[in-house]
């Protein structure tokens, strides 16, 4: 019985649709996001020293990237124990974006196509970034890559984006 009722109220509109009004809003909302001091330290090391740093849990000794005030796993306070991470690694997973997505933070469609991957840095910590290689055929898991930094000091200061991309080692 009940089902029938549903159909009556939710039947699709007939072919000749009446005029329906749609209201558009194109108002961007501004935000001032803060890195806080933990992620801020990552930013500082990237800008000043072109280093990738993570912080280490006093209990499980795991290095966390992005840095964190609390070890998610042990659920203890992390303290302030920083470790530098290697800048070379292997591509663990990757994807290749074909469809140009709308980027909500920039209000524009992303450059298309591009490849992004999860990179296993040489000490076993995972890091996600763009890959220089755009050719789907040449991208592969296990590819050896290294970080390529923005050379201009003044252009750095954007944390992870201070690294332009990871490029294949040996490919010049």
């Amino acid at each position: 019985m009940a089902k029938k009722k549903v159909k009556e109220t939710t039947e699709k509109s007939p072919k000749e649709e009446p005029e329906y009004v749609r209201i558009k809003f194109n108002q961007p909302r501004r935000y001032d996001w803060s890195t806080g001091k933990y992620l801020g330290h990552f930013y500082a090391e990237a800008k000043e020293n072109k280093k990738i740093v993570g912080n280490r849990c006093p209990k499980c000794k795991e290095i966390w990237l992005p840095p964190t005030p609390v070890c998610p796993k042990c659920k203890v306070d992390m303290g302030w124990d920083w470790r530098e991470l290697p800048q070379t690694g292997t591509v663990f997973q990757y994807t290749y974006l074909v469809f140009p997505l709308w980027d909500p933070h920039y209000g524009e469609r992303w450059a298309n196509p591009y490849a992004s991957g999860i990179i296993k840095l040489d000490n076993g910590v995972f890091y996600r970034h763009f890959l220089e290689e755009q050719d789907k055929e040449k991208l592969k898991e296990g590819m050896r890559v290294k970080a390529v930094w923005k050379e201009d000091y003044n252009e750095r200061g954007q944390g992870p984006s201070d690294i332009l991309y990871f490029k294949e080692i040996g490919k010049e």
Binding site: K5, P66, T68, V98, I119, K120, R128
Partner: protein
């Protein structure tokens, strides 16, 4: 001992990509009215409301407030929850805890999303914080693409198997009057000729963006038996979250970390004496945003051994007529109004237990069913439903 409770009313809208004929509130109302009609209750019988959606999708702040009159929140206690993809199940959880606590006897649980209001993928991309780098996100699509690649590599599944998942979803959806995508696909080739979205995911490997809502009415044990001849008992619920931004936030890059699905299963199965899920549970409605993910989730929920998910599909075990039907509704692959999606899983599982699945009723008898949700950085909510306690 906690109060026991049951689902006594189930309602959903039909789902489609655009609903210009109704505003957000009116659309949600359709599901509420359907659930009330199903339970043969009036809005006055409802004591509290629990609503879920993803507010950035429509860019409506406090959407529950906007639909207070239409969806029946006005003059009643209630909450709105939001946990990304799992929102609809989080509302179920709140309904569960509030009724179990004895604070309310009859509660309305609503999941809704009107995805014709904005750009869904962009809204999902906004889940990544820009301070951790633009490169950190490719939307949910990118996440599932990476996972699909890994799954392909580790399990030996082929694109054809993913296509079979879509074919099953499509066959089922065509039998479900409320489903969104009903493509009438005939063969694996029909799926494999769809274009790539994010390699190796094709358009047809992924779930659609739907407008729709789903409402459930929960009642405490003493009220449930009076309201409904076929109450479906909410036996248990388990939520497992985790932090985002381990580099592969959805996958398991280390190969040794625990998935939220594993933890949720372990807890839920243990509490309910489930040792062999495929024997102890009769049917599942799972949240599978992509073809590949469905096979992967079979393994995570221990419906089969590791690397064997694709075999279940190949053997037809999870078909409507199969030994262990999964997503007879057509699932998320056919219908995905995000905030409502997990609620629909619970609703569809409950319909199967009642035997009200109509054309998409499972062939086998369904006494126990599992509904799952997936969201955020691979969060899991599992709901266990039973015909009798």
């Amino acid at each position: 001992m906690p109060n026991r409770l049951a689902i006594v009313g189930i309602g959903q809208t039909y789902h489609t990509s655009k609903r210009p004929d109704v505003n957000y509130a009116e659309m949600t109302r359709e599901a509420v009215m359907a659930a009330l009609a199903d339970a043969q209750l009036s809005i006055k019988d409802i004591e509290a409301t629990f609503m879920a959606n993803m507010e950035t999708f429509e860019a409506i702040y406090l959407p529950d407030h906007q639909m207070a009159a239409e969806a029946g929140f006005y003059g009643k206690p209630g909450l709105k929850v939001g946990t990304g993809g799992t929102s609809g199940a989080s509302a179920v959880a709140e309904g569960f805890y509030f009724v179990a606590s004895g604070l309310y006897d009859v509660a309305l649980v609503i999941g809704c999303e009107k995805q014709d209001c904005g750009d869904t993928t962009a809204a999902i991309s906004a889940a990544a914080t820009p301070i951790w780098g633009k490169g950190a996100t490719t939307g949910a699509i990118g996440e599932f693409a990476k996972q699909a690649l890994s799954y392909m590599k580790t399990s030996g599944a082929k694109e054809e198997h993913a296509a079979m998942v879509r074919l099953k979803a499509d066959r089922n959806a065509c039998r479900n009057p409320y489903a969104h995508l009903k493509l009438g696909l005939k063969s694996i080739e029909d799926v494999l000729k769809s274009p790539y979205l994010v390699w190796p995911l094709r358009l047809l490997d992924f779930c659609p963006q739907s407008c729709g809502a789903c409402a459930l009415i929960f009642a405490s044990e003493k009220r449930a038996k009076k309201i409904s001849k076929k109450p479906v008992w909410v036996a248990d619920i388990e939520t497992v979250h985790q932090e985002p931004f381990r580099a592969g936030s959805f996958g398991d890059p280390t190969g040794k970390e625990t998935y939220t699905q594993h933890v949720a299963c372990e807890r839920l199965y243990k509490r309910n004496g489930i040792t062999k899920p495929r024997r102890d549970i009769d049917l599942a409605e799972i949240y599978e945003p992509s073809n590949w993910e469905e096979m992967n989730l079979y393994e995570h929920f221990h419906f089969c051994g590791k690397g064997e998910g694709w075999k279940l599909i190949e053997k037809g075990i999870t078909e409507i007529e199969g030994e262990f039907p999964v997503n007879p509704s057509g699932g998320v692959l056919a219908t995905n109004p995000i905030g409502a999606t997990p609620t629909i899983r619970v609703a569809e599982a409950a319909l199967q237990i009642r035997g009200d699945g109509g054309e998409h009723q499972a062939t086998r008898e369904v006494k126990t069913a599992l509904a799952t949700a997936l969201g955020g950085p691979n969060w899991t909510v599992m709901t266990l439903l039973k015909r009798s306690l």
